[in-house]
Symmetry: none
Subunit: 130 residues, 2 copies
Amino acid sequence: MAEQAPRRTTRQRAAVAAALGQCEEFVSAQELHARLRTDGERVGLATVYRNLQSMAADGEIDMIRRDDGEAVYRACSTDHHHHLVCRVCGSTVEIAGPAVERWADRVGAEHDYAEVSHTVELTGVCASCR
Amino acid sequence: MAEQAPRRTTRQRAAVAAALGQCEEFVSAQELHARLRTDGERVGLATVYRNLQSMAADGEIDMIRRDDGEAVYRACSTDHHHHLVCRVCGSTVEIAGPAVERWADRVGAEHDYAEVSHTVELTGVCASCR
DNA sequence: CACTCAAATGGGAATGATTGTCAATTTCGC
DNA sequence: GCGAAATTGACAATCATTCCCATTTGAGTG
């Protein structure tokens, strides 16, 4: 495991963690910052970035990248699922894919990779758009 | 499959494809642009971006994102596969995942989505980076 | 509690990849 | 060869993310 640098508990760090905990879906640092501001918490944008990064580095939260390259975060333990997105109308269906989870773990093990996480996106054309 | 917009064969497009073909590893648009310039090919940076994007959209090349979010490309073997990328050193392993293919098709069918395609990215930490 | 000092913060400026703009150029079917 | 439509190039504009640095704050210590 990566060594964990000293971390202090600050009002801002707690606020970031709390706000993230209330999000079901992945959120970007920008979105989280806006949300905090709305909630009346005054936290600098740079601070949101720094905290999200260190929390991700410590494994406290998940970080993945959206299609456009923007980093998005999610509190761990929120239940994990994927999406099936319609290419035409954009409607989405949430997919629970235990099969994929197992597959990902197995592939990681086969190639001796640790801490394997995965991103899965399905796109298609939904019934009403055909 | 996704509809392919009309594409013309231009000197620049060929140059981009050729340069990419000579790279073993993944390269970013910026790197490829620099390489082209070194080779004496005059191709605009925006053009490199546009071509890489359209080639990726057409499935002619692979596109993934490095840890820092920068998009990197690589000429891909024709057959469909996924990647297992090391979060630390960036080394990649190609994964053939018949299991995922079948899973994706089944999920699409269950929700009545047609022309389902999928994106799967696995990231972890490889043995030598631990 | 008062004290100390490194960690943490904030916010504005800087960075750097990517995208937009639009006139000029090039491709390709006819 | 012609003309419409795609493509290009140079540069400006975006926008997430990082840097900088003066100021604040957490948390041991005596």
